[in-house]
């Protein structure tokens, strides 16, 4: 298996971000195809494709779509999660930047299938360029009649699409926190089953709400154009289709690579030009939240939901980070911990207090003041967060640290024993404590 471009096929065509070029490359054919079908038939097509959510959790897309009420006059909302914040991931940013119409088209199809008249794309605040591109695309789509009232002459299909930008919060990538943020609240998660209703039953403003990732929506036009079976034929049995991996780190050609699910991990590294600056030390295959994979465990791992799980890590959002043997894992873990401490929303106790604690202990270890019991203390703190926090951010903060210690315990012990890095010449950034507290008024 090799690179297989479906979504990214035309990403370098000049002007593909404009509607004319996009249409001339088969754009909006998916929407037309969808409108030629019954709404349920569209959902069935997505079901046949086996498409799973590309945001990280890999939940079958059609089940969400099918969960929205199919009758009644209640307002439905369609949300697109473009709050890409997972360190190491940059696929949504590029999709919106280069192929915004593909996302708009996918959302229009989803709106048709789920009877949604209102949609929001929640774009991460930092992605100004992408939001500007998306704005142009939405305006063009309105003018061509792909959005707005009576889309393509169908009096029973109206869909308004708006942009909502975030303002700097990783937590808002969690779907219920995103809904809070959309409703103008602090970006904190909301109750989910079994405690509260599913978003598709009662989401934003108490209305049924469908929320999908940018890449998921971008897959939809292709599925409708070529059929679900065509899509399902790619990838593996349980993880069909293609997936964009954002490859970065110590590789020759970092960038987004679209590959069939089930491609061996090592092949992706080769695609990106191989490891540079030294031998491979470790890979984080799915964004900072997933457990780190040491080089010796990389062989034989296939990049699909099941393959990653079998290797003790996760496919996540496809943020594929490659590290060579000059990398200090303890410093890497410390920076990861800083990230989660900074991005914890502060709602629940384990995440709020635990992430800061982990970060402080790692600060101390990399300042040369670690104690041997600190390593087990870190594991214990991870256990105390994992599974007990309000939303998955707590889990995501504990997994990488735990995997870092499990796989590279000797490096932690080296730091504790010698007060210095096992990598010769490596000096951790002493001054840095991450972006630090959010600035605000001090009374």
């Amino acid at each position: 298996m090799a690179e297989l471009q479906v979504l990214l096929q035309h990403r370098n065509v000049p002007g593909i971000d404009g509607i004319d070029v996009y249409e001339s490359h088969g754009g909006y054919a998916g929407l037309r195809a969808a409108l030629g079908k019954e709404r349920q038939a569209v959902i069935d097509e997505v079901k046949a494709s086996g498409l799973r959510g590309r945001g990280g959790a890999g939940f079958p897309t059609w089940i969400k779509w099918n969960g929205l009420p199919k009758s009644g006059s209640a307002q439905h909302y369609l949300l697109c999660n473009a709050d890409e914040g997972e360190p190491g991931t940059f696929k949504d940013r590029e999709l919106l930047l280069k192929l915004p119409h593909m996302v708009v088209e996918g959302m229009a199809i989803a709106a048709y299938a789920t009877r949604s008249a209102n949609g929001f794309v929640y774009v991460r605040g930092e992605f100004v360029e992408s939001a500007t591109q998306l704005r142009k695309a939405i305006d063009q789509a309105y003018r061509r009649g792909y959005l707005g009232r009576n889309i393509l002459g169908r009096s029973d299909f109206c869909f308004d699409l708006h942009i909502h930008t975030g303002a700097g919060s990783y937590e808002c990538g969690e779907e219920t926190a995103l809904m809070s943020s959309l409703m103008g609240e602090r970006g904190q998660p909301r109750l989910k089953p079994p405690h509260g209703p599913l978003p598709v039953v009662s989401g934003v403003w108490g209305s049924p709400t469908l929320i999908n990732n940018v890449e998921t929506y971008a897959c939809v036009p292709h599925i409708l154009t070529h059929g679900g079976a065509w899509y399902a034929a790619m990838g593996t049995q349980r993880s069909p289709g293609t997936k964009i991996f954002s490859v970065s780190g110590h590789v020759a050609r970092p960038g987004n690579y679209e590959i069939e699910l089930g491609t061996p991990l090592t092949e992706l590294i080769e695609l990106a030009g191989g490891v540079v600056g030294g031998a491979l030390k470790a890979v984080i295959p799915g964004g900072s939240s997933v457990p780190i994979l040491p080089a010796e465990k990389c062989a034989g791992v296939t990049l699909d939901y099941e393959g990653c799980q079998a290797a003790g890590t996760m496919l996540g959002s496809g943020g594929f980070m490659v590290f060579n043997d000059k990398t200090d894992i303890v410093a890497l873990m410390r920076r990861t911990a800083q990230f989660y401490a900074h991005e914890s929303c502060g709602k629940c106790t384990p995440c709020r207090e635990g992430t800061r604690w982990i970060s402080r202990v790692l600060d101390r270890i990399t300042a040369g003041a670690g104690r041997m019991e600190d390593i087990d203390l870190l594991l214990s703190i991870c256990d105390q967060i994992d599974g007990r926090s309000y939303c998955p951010l707590g889990d995501a903060a504990s997994w990488p640290i735990r995997a870092g210690i499990r796989n590279f315990r000797h490096e932690f012990e080296h730091w504790v024993r010698h007060g210095s890095s096992p990598i010769p010449g490596f000096v951790p950034p002493v001054r840095s404590h991450g972006p630090g507290p959010v600035p605000g008024r001090q009374e």
């Binding site: 360190p87 940059f90 930092e126 990230f339």
Partner: protein
Amino acid sequence: MVAASAGRFSEAGQAQLAEIVSHYPDPGGAILPALWLAQREYGGWLPADAIAEVAARLGRPASEIQGVATFYTMYNTQQRGRRHIEVCTCLTCGCLGAYEVIDRLEQILGIHLGQTTADGEFTLTEAECLNYCEAATVVQVGERYFGGVNAENAADLVARLRGSEGCTPESLSNAIVEAIVPGRNAGATHG
């Protein structure tokens, strides 16, 4: 709903706010975009007056608006330098020389991380992953991303920023507002 407070929103800003509010079934939804708008109208940051004005215009308690404004990192509740240089030091960038970039920038600007130059021109901070890892090290200044920054070309970046248009908190806020508000030509079919 909108109290006639002694606000600083321009007429254009008020019209944009009205448009934004119309996107949401409840004016509360417009809090985030309204804060972006306020950050533009108040010159790139959110003094207490700006928060009070957003609260009055959306009919929400000011404490709630302040709670929202202080939650998100991109709202400046304190005035920063005209150019806010945010260097990504997260995983990839951190391994690919972000800290050398910071060292160099500190040297060039004569300030430490988290500080603002005496002339109020530059503020230097770390940033969490800006999700442009393919171009590590990535630096964000206002609405612009700069990829492939390293210790060698950091001086060029600073020089370029000194003369450039935009790249301020104000232009960042404006760009976001422009992205949120539908284009004039598209307005006709908007519901």
